[in-house]
Symmetry: C2
Subunit: 306 residues, 2 copies
Amino acid sequence: MKNISVFCPATIANISCGFDVLGVALESVGDEMIIRKVDQKGIRITKLTGQDLPIETHMNVAGVAGLALLAESDYEGGFEIEIHKKIKAGSGIGSSAASSTGAVWAMNELLGRPFSKLQLVKFAMEGERLASGVAHADNVAPALFGGFTLVRSYHPLDIVAIPSPPQLWATVIHPQIEIRTSDSRKILKTNITLADGIKQWGNLGGLVAGLFTEDYDLIGRSLIDHIVEPIRSILIPGFDKVKSVSLEAGALGCGISGSGPSIFAFSKGEETAKKVAGAMKEVYKKIGIDYDVHVSKVNVDGVRAL
Amino acid sequence: MKNISVFCPATIANISCGFDVLGVALESVGDEMIIRKVDQKGIRITKLTGQDLPIETHMNVAGVAGLALLAESDYEGGFEIEIHKKIKAGSGIGSSAASSTGAVWAMNELLGRPFSKLQLVKFAMEGERLASGVAHADNVAPALFGGFTLVRSYHPLDIVAIPSPPQLWATVIHPQIEIRTSDSRKILKTNITLADGIKQWGNLGGLVAGLFTEDYDLIGRSLIDHIVEPIRSILIPGFDKVKSVSLEAGALGCGISGSGPSIFAFSKGEETAKKVAGAMKEVYKKIGIDYDVHVSKVNVDGVRAL
């Protein structure tokens, strides 16, 4: 096999009580990429459509992730990468993670799978380091594994795959405003109260249990964030309203996707997820902010060949 | 049915990363009680063996829990309670919770089960309020439900039952020193760092996932407490040594039971759990502190009729 086309899913990270540890992959939103094995050493981005992003290898997240893989490989040739961005950069649904993950997953396939999934996560994290200054794994892990993933620990890196109940759907609205990841990290407090911490890990335990037992009500009751959402939501105009109309429309829970500005809601079933999308749209129509909306099943397989 | 004999299991609360939310019931350590339905209104403690504890109804945790149940019941008679304590008060393995839980579970049986398990937890929590000043649920819930239980939330009270893998065994050593619950709570800091919080909820998510998937290694990797153990363990002589010898003997993880002074370890299989017990004993023999040791399977059914 000399080349491969892949679909790399968008992802929601920082899922409410799972700040910095829990992410999930989406089925119907993602980048498409074509990766070719070539004799010439190194990585070249040969085409990039859909977004205005750097194509120099060292400036591109897929390029950097690919170089991290090559550095650990005994393969003597190189790769060409075509990237067709469908996920907007800066939207908060793992745009950079999709490209990084797609690149290293495809290369591993073309090389006969010399690397484990955990190793691929580490390579893709180098793309995240380029994109945001921090080599985080909470978008990369679900993009690669599919379903929900928990980053239990970074030192050593420990990724735990968590199943997704069959009827779980996500609605994501992306209001077209810009929030820099660095800004949304800066406003977080360094300290939290122990009391809030206890609530947070109680809810995360409940969420993980709900995902295993397919208990949609428990999932909904656990989708609470006492720590980050009250602070970060201030940066997202209309957040409180979007959340309240989503819950009224039947969503199980609603929160900030990644570091925003996208807002996600989970629902049981496609019908409710679409109803939630309709309710979310109305909020930004009234405020007068442009938006994109995605309604998607949870992707359970992660990045895949097309 | 006019009377019932019950076994009420000892419990480990504050399981490492599950501080204030996660507990587990033990199979081979627990109180025995006999509860009789009588015409005379109110609750009387007619016998109390094994420990020097108050038998006045309002001063006894089983009495207070029983009164809480009676107050919500339309039953016009009363109950007599015999308590045979096998769990030492102040040991940190849910002595008061066992008596409170046993009393209200037995009364509910004798009355034809008018109350849900969640309501019984609330009644038993009144016993905890008497014992420690705080109506906590993290020992009561596992004593009643069996296995592992998560107290996801107190307002409203939300208890999540979590399965226990079949080969999970606990070893508990109780060094005969006194730590008052109020003291061990006082030394906790009101604030924690967000970074430590993230590690804690990452580990709790991993622990819950490991319990569902029967992944003993993951359970072991997740049994880490960055927040409470480093502070509270200072109050328990020999803690660090007990922990290190337990892990060397093959334990999956080790931590403080409740607010101490008991120390628990989880192991895969009885043989390892016994080996851990041997290693723990040696530490206190050398220090010269008396101790009790329990080796027990996880109790999966909670309080039961004998």
